[in-house]
């Protein structure tokens, strides 16, 4: 391979290369400026440079999406496609919101390193969103998670931050071990490292006596690992503590971009590679078919129950958001089960999952940005600290209301359509027999509960009296970020079907080529 062959490849890898350069730039900038500028100036300067670089990333990604070209490198290690570019755009937007929040955060001390970690994590997500091989998924998942462990624990003076980070690391490590052990069985039994190869091998095994017990054990172990990553109950135990302990900008990434990447990878593995061993959960338990579907259905039901009921009882805004994220993991898992009796997924399933993941990431980034703005003048992040905050800071409180309504699934917010598509996909799958009606009915009931607790949070902000009436000023950049995210959430809600259609026409949708 000579240089002229390499150059066209570089075009596809441009966002990743730019991001690596940005992260290194942040490190070098910190080293160069630490003697010249104070912390706050460095924080501002490096932060704006990072935002500028991420903006350039957005432009490149937009160009990739518009060109519509695809490329697969190294046995599925890296797949560039317009669809992946869109997913990366959403992750980038969420991380940009987090960087904006961090511009004036008082607790950041190692400024350049802090930004570098954020960018490294985003780089991991980029590779993760492009990965269609087991090896790359594992390595990219670690690149995503490791900086997040450090960021979650980065408030070194606060015990809850370190404890939260530690808990996140231990559960993350456990998740990696389960995922890896599962991968070793899956890879070992099939000899296939790429997701497309795995699917073809599984299809071939249908006539050759099935993939074997050990392969299925591997798939189950991988589901446990993925369950940890997307915080599905009962593997969600780390989430409340990690969210609560992490500084708000870091928690925003945990709840948005990282979750988006996790959901997409889970969908690629389950609905892509392992589709032939899906089984199904249609109708009564007696008529179910063995495969990963019953396990995922158990996760979905547990997440919907635990997430929504526990969120009702929360007194802290960050813990509340953690349980809300568990509940949303339950929602999205419902669409994973949208398979008909012969194991074919509903046409809507993959686009609906992607749409929901994107919406969810943007909305959550908005929620955390708004909480960050409100927490500016508050003592802490308990609900009690936000009492009557709308009177003190109407601007962020208004936007928080919009984002909360979107999470709750109130039309015309995008969150409503996200849920609608998920549940429509589930009902479409076995439309003649209403096979998944039981699950959808349960999910709908739980979402009514969800409406209740989101509105309770809104009530704390808007109705309850404030003890402290001093106004909270919101920095301009945070206002811009809030407006931009709200426009996206509303815009994607105004044109939901065109988004979905765009996802569909992007070829192979979420899943593999070939």
């Amino acid at each position: 391979m000579n240089l002229s062959d390499l150059l066209p490849l570089l075009r596809f890898l441009a966002p990743e290369i730019l991001l690596s350069a940005l992260a290194l730039g942040a490190l070098l900038g910190e080293a160069a400026l630490s003697r010249l500028l104070g912390v706050e100036k460095r924080q501002n300067l490096l932060g704006w440079l990072a935002l500028l670089g991420l903006g350039a990333c957005l432009v490149i990604l937009g160009d990739q999406a518009a060109r519509g070209e695809t490329l697969a490198l190294g046995r599925g290690a890296f797949v560039a496609s317009p669809f992946n570019a869109l997913l990366k755009t959403a992750a980038t937007l969420a991380v940009m919101a987090s960087v904006t929040m961090g511009l004036r955060a008082p607790f950041v001390r190692h400024v350049g390193e802090n930004y570098a970690l954020v960018l490294f994590s985003l780089l991991g997500m980029f590779f993760l969103l492009s990965a269609e091989s087991l090896l790359m998924i594992f390595v990219a998942l670690e690149l995503t998670s490791l900086p997040l462990y450090a960021l979650a624990a980065s408030q070194k003076g606060a015990r809850r931050s370190i404890e939260g980070g530690l808990k996140y690391l231990l559960f993350g490590g456990l998740s990696a071990a389960f995922l890896l052990f599962g991968i070793s069985y899956v890879y070992g039994m099939s000899g296939q490292g790429s997701l497309a190869g795995l699917r073809d091998w599984l299809v071939a095994q249908r006539t050759a006596g099935g993939p074997g017990f050990l392969f299925l054990t591997g798939v189950c172990l991988m589901i446990v690992g993925l369950g940890f990553k997307i915080a599905a109950a009962p593997f969600h135990l780390w989430a409340p503590d990690a969210y609560e302990g992490a500084p708000l900008p870091a928690a925003a990434i945990l709840a948005s971009a990282s979750k988006l990447a996790g959901i997409v990878v889970a969908a690629r593995l389950l609905l892509g590679a392992f589709l032939p061993v899906a089984g199904n959960v249609l109708g009564s338990p007696l008529s179910w078919h063995a495969g990963w579907s019953p396990a995922v259905a158990a996760l979905a039901v547990a997440s919907l129950t635990v997430g929504n009921l526990a969120a009702l009882a929360q007194r802290n805004a960050k813990r509340f958001m953690a349980y809300s994220s568990v509940a949303h993991a339950g929602n999205v898992l419902v669409a994973f089960l949208a398979l008909d009796a012969s194991g074919r997924p509903a046409a809507l399933a993959a686009p609906a999952i992607a749409y929901y993941a994107v919406i969810y990431a943007l909305t959550n980034a908005g929620v955390f940005a708004a909480i960050h703005a409100l927490a500016w003048g508050a003592r802490g992040d308990d609900f009690a600290d936000f009492r009557g905050a709308a009177r003190r800071a109407p601007f962020p409180a208004f936007f928080l209301l919009i984002f909360l309504l979107s999470l709750a699934g109130v039309p015309p917010m995008a969150g409503f359509f996200g849920k609608l598509f998920l549940f429509m996909a589930a009902l479409q799958a076995d439309a003649t027999h209403w096979g998944l009606a039981w699950l959808v009915a349960y999910a709908l009931a739980m979402n009514v509960v969800a409406l209740g607790y989101y509105l309770r949070f809104a009530r704390v902000l808007w109705v309850e009296p404030a003890e402290d009436l001093r106004p909270i000023s919101t920095p301009l950049e945070l206002r811009v970020a809030l407006v931009a995210l709200a426009l996206l959430v509303l815009g994607l809600g105004v044109f939901p079907s065109s988004c979905l259609a765009a996802f569909r026409t992007m070829g192979g949708v979420l899943l593999l080529r070939g």
């Binding site: 003076g157 231990l170 052990f181 991968i183 070793s184 070992g188 000899g191």
Partner: protein
């Protein structure tokens, strides 16, 4: 004695994984919990090496190479968090850490 087959290797690897998992769940000393996580990753390594020996080619060994890298990185960050925790609270025991009690 007849030479070991793939199943022998996998039994050893699965037992190692169980031992590691038991250590993670049961031990209260966080340093030992991290060591147990390493044992779990190594169990997967052993399975990958065995599969690579029995017909799957070298790709499994490449995987192990990456796992060793990842394990080193994970241990470094884990130990760093432990040191930060110890500086603040003077403990590395699960039982002294409120959020780790289930």
């Amino acid at each position: 004695m007849e030479p070991p087959g793939l199943n022998h290797w996998l039994v050893v690897s699965a037992m190692l994984f169980c031992i590691g998992a038991a250590g993670v769940v049961l031990r209260r000393n966080l340093l030992v919990v991290l060591m147990s996580l390493e044992i779990m990753l190594n169990a997967a390594n052993l399975a990958l090496v065995a599969f690579s020996r029995y017909g799957n080619g070298l790709d499994g060994q490449i995987f192990v190479f990456f796992v060793i890298t990842v394990a080193a990185a994970e241990v470094a960050v884990g130990l760093a968090i432990l040191v930060a925790l110890y500086r603040l609270c003077g403990t590395v025991r699960v039982s002294d850490i409120a959020t780790l009690k289930l």
